[in-house]
């Protein structure tokens, strides 16, 4: 009698909840496993080397299951690195300035106006960014630089920069806000101006959070597929300058997966690219944890010396 009550009141619910928790673990692991199984075919079935995939620029996989093509993905990898790096270079200074503005310079406006505005930026769907890029930015760049068309690395980087700016801004603003007020008070008591306090005290103290913001921004930029695909031009060549078109990993997957024969060499090579994206996002998580650990260790050391 007692046991039956307990089963109804505790064990059953507990079991359902536990199963859900385990299901999420299984789901995450199976995403990794399924990608590995599909993508490893490039190396196991079609006998290409990892070296060729990562460092060769000859990309000509056969759309059949007989193989024999070339699967060097360097153009795509370089394209991703270049567009994301450039996007970060454009977005980071603006984002830090925005974060400082909304926390240190005008905290009231920041809270009431800037923060909701930044959240709206986050909410705009990525295809809408891509569509705006395609209809405004691409013609604009074409006319500005007198190019035959406006599909360039620069267009993609600008679109990505607008997309990652809110991420970097909110995360670094949180980091700046969590710097203890006593630090600022102490610095002001020494006669520093506001800019000196920001430059010399606040930014160094918030360094860990700012680094995390950069990594988060980068990981969003790397994973973005469709907005980039709409403005980058999708040519199979290294960009000669930031004003020439190229291709990226996500773009190749998004535009070619549908047409490639299931199980063929082309298809398998695209799955291998998906593994690369998966590993990259794991690496970004690792980097964030590493930064967080170092920051908390640093803080502990500071406290001990005080």
């Amino acid at each position: 009698m007692y046991n039956r009550e307990m089963i109804k009141n505790e064990y059953l619910g507990r079991m359902i909840i536990t199963i859900c928790g385990i299901l999420v673990i299984v789901l995450t692991l199976s995403i990794g496993v399924f990608l590995l199984v599909k993508g490893a075919g490039t190396f196991l079935i079609y006998k290409h080397s990892v070296w060729e995939f990562l460092f060769s620029s000859a990309w000509d996989p056969q759309d059949t299951s007989s193989g024999g093509g070339k699967v060097g993905a360097l153009i795509y990898i370089a394209g991703s690195l270049l567009t994301c790096g450039l996007a970060l270079l454009i977005a980071a200074p603006f984002s830090f300035a925005g974060a400082i503005f909304m926390t240190e310079i005008a905290p009231k406006t920041g809270l009431r106006l800037f923060r909701p505005a930044v959240e709206i930026f986050v909410g705009i769907p990525s295809v809408v960014y891509g569509w705006i890029g395609l209809t405004i930015l691409v013609p604009f760049i074409k006319n500005l630089f007198n190019l035959p068309h406006g599909f360039t690395v620069l267009s993609a980087s600008l679109v990505l920069a607008v997309m990652i700016f809110p991420t970097i801004t909110t995360v670094s603003a949180d980091a700046i806000r969590s710097v203890p007020q006593e630090y600022r008070d102490g610095a002001y008591a020494l006669g520093m101006t506001r800019w000196e306090v920001i430059k010399g005290i606040v930014i160094p103290a918030a360094k860990g959070g700012i680094m995390t913001a950069i990594v988060l921004g980068l990981s969003r930029a790397f994973g973005e597929a469709l907005a980039v695909a709409m403005v980058i031009g999708k040519t199979k060549a290294f960009p000669r300058s930031i004003l020439s078109p190229t291709n990226t990993i996500t773009t190749a997957i998004a535009s070619d997966m549908g047409g490639a024969m299931e199980g063929g060499e082309y298809n398998t090579a695209l799955w291998t690219m998906a593994i690369l994206l998966y590993l990259l996002s794991l690496f970004f998580i690792y980097a964030i944890h590493k930064i967080a650990n170092q920051t908390s260790e640093g803080n502990n050391k500071c406290r001990k010396t005080i």
């Binding site: 295809v127 809408v128 705006i132 395609l134």
Partner: protein, 292 residues
């Protein structure tokens, strides 16, 4: 000498303050222009045909979007909430919780195209199905699951400890406490998370590219749910608004494709805004309640 130094420092401080104001103003302006442009462009040359349920309008795509997001929330809300409850209440502080946290973090940082590929593999290729709404909904729920789980964790952690103690003191079991005391108290916060997840689902495209498909064929007089053209059949292909914009870039099927894409962008933005405003409203009410 030292007076000059002071002057320089003060001038620098002024200059930087002006610079920060400029950057802040620039962003507010940029956002305003962006949103105004999308809305104005979407609604110029507006004609009621854009709402129609044909290839000249976006009625079908709009219905697909709402239906797909609803399906995905039906899947991800219970699973996400349960996972969150497991993490805060049952898993303890051990290795399993840490591992589950890692899994949630991985899920939330996966690029949506990778999730889309996984969905394509498991829900389309392995089931030998054609593109369908339920596969799209499942893929989107993988994306919204971590968001709902983390909001649930935060919501439970924000509850006062004495809720639980009081319930235990009355002789309730842990599960009864969760179900009748903690969950009801945490629900407003969890709803904010669900609304955010819905807002993201509306704009999702990359995860749907190879799951929900790029075509839609609805016969609004056919209500036999097993038929391929019935609006409510979840096993039919269903192009969403976001995918429709993506499709408009090259495959101009209708003569007014660009206009349709502009209009779809405007509608998507309006949906996303209203969802973010609703969630702000709810969380504002929660914090006011907490303060009382």
């Amino acid at each position: 000498m030292s007076k000059d130094y002071l002057k320089i420092e003060k001038a620098e401080d002024k200059a930087m303050t002006v610079l920060f104001y400029l950057v802040g103003g620039f962003f507010l302006l940029l956002l305003f222009c962006l949103v105004a442009y999308i809305l104005v462009k979407g609604f110029t040359n507006f004609s009621p045909v854009l709402f129609s349920f044909s290839e000249k309008g976006i009625g079908n795509q709009f219905f697909n979007t709402v239906y797909l997001v609803a399906l995905s929330l039906i899947i991800s809300t219970p699973l996400g909430t349960a996972t969150g409850i497991y993490m805060v209440e049952y898993a303890g502080n051990g290795k399993i919780t840490r591992f589950l946290e890692m899994c949630i973090e991985t899920l939330s940082s996966l690029p949506s195209i990778v999730v889309g590929l996984f969905g394509y593999l498991v829900f389309i290729l392995m089931t030998h199905a054609r593109w369908n709404l339920i596969a799209g909904a499942l893929s989107v729920s993988i994306l919204s699951l971590p968001l709902i789980a983390t909001t649930t964790v935060d919501a439970f952690k924000a509850l006062p400890e004495n809720y639980k103690e009081g319930s235990f003191a009355l002789g309730a079991t842990h599960w009864q406490t969760i179900l009748h005391v903690l969950l009801p108290a945490a629900i407003p916060r969890i709803i904010t998370g669900i609304i955010l997840a819905a807002g993201r689902g509306f704009g999702e495209a990359a995860a749907l590219l190879y799951t929900a498909g790029m075509s839609t064929d609805i016969n609004w007089s056919n209500w036999n749910i097993f038929s391929g053209t019935c609006p409510l059949n979840p096993f039919r292909p269903g192009e969403t608004l976001a995918l429709h914009i993506w499709g408009a870039r090259t495959e101009a099927l209708a003569p007014n494709a660009a206009q349709i894409a502009d209009f779809s962008s405007a509608i998507l933005i309006i949906i996303v805004f209203s969802f973010s405003i609703i969630s702000r409203f709810i969380s504002g009410r929660i914090s006011r309640k907490m303060a009382q």
